[in-house]
Symmetry: C2
Subunit: 161 residues, 2 copies
């Protein structure tokens, strides 16, 4: 999870919501990724998607059957679905997501017995660190947003004068 | 849907499960894709994912808010999630999927009121054509599989002789 947090920090540096992911097989990282949705202008650029794509490339197979995926925030609908489609058997999650969490918070796509594949899920690993990074990011975002608004109001006042 | 079926035919030619998708905005196709999972060795190469990625690139935005997505087979967990993440407001589906359908067959990711976004869904458009293409593909696959097995058995018999 420390390596996934290091990936999340790369997202933070780009001004993206800090989410990071690594995929491990036989103790080796075979794919990693971080959120780049705004930078790459595609909602497909979530941390897990990039990590899965790289892991596929790394082993030359669409099946990631002996892998463990570590992610700092509970996967959304798309990423939970991608984990099931890639047949990843183990998922380790940092913080929960009450907005789009599909590893149990809203629905549980990772463990639906009606699907062809289910994953073993461990939640709350280094939860404080993962959650703190997201909270810091959103607090900073709100501060900047307030400052920008204040700046605009100031500019309007001076142009009115 | 005819254009989505034309995409599905491209998948069939590669020996892939024939599924095709197009995304339309203001009467114009801005993204299209077909299943290439085995060819590209990644489960992310579903028809809808390629179409979404291309549509994002085409308009330079991760939000596909004024678009309609047409797909020949009901989206799986990942693709239904990707549609929600891309905020696509309308989804038109050909055949239903009883294996992984997440537009209502198994679960309905496209219209879950607990998610931040829901899509309008129309099912059963050109269902016969979409379904027939899939049935033809799987029938042919089974026939080849039987022939190969028979071929192997023949080879074993002749080597035994």
């Amino acid at each position: 999870m420390r390596k996934a947090l290091a990936q999340a920090r790369l997202a933070m540096r780009l001004g993206e919501v800090p989410i990071g992911c690594v995929i491990v097989r036989d103790g080796e990282i075979i794919g990693k990724g971080y959120n780049r949705r705004n930078t790459d202008r595609t909602s497909l650029a979530h941390a897990e998607m990039t990590a899965i794509r790289r892991a596929n490339k790394s082993i030359g197979d669409w099946r990631l059957e002996d892998c463990t995926l570590y992610v700092t925030l509970e996967p959304c609908q798309m990423c939970a679905g991608a984990i099931i489609q890639a047949r990843i058997p183990r998922v380790v999650i940092g913080a929960d997501s009450d907005k789009a969490g599909c590893g149990g918070s809203i629905i549980n796509i990772l463990q639906n017995p009606e699907f062809m594949h289910q994953a073993q899920v461990v939640r709350g690993v280094m939860e404080e660190e993962c959650s703190a990074m997201l909270k810091t990011f959103f607090r900073e975002l709100r501060r900047r947003s307030r400052e920008e608004k204040a700046g605009c109001a100031g500019a309007e006042t001076s142009s009115d004068a």
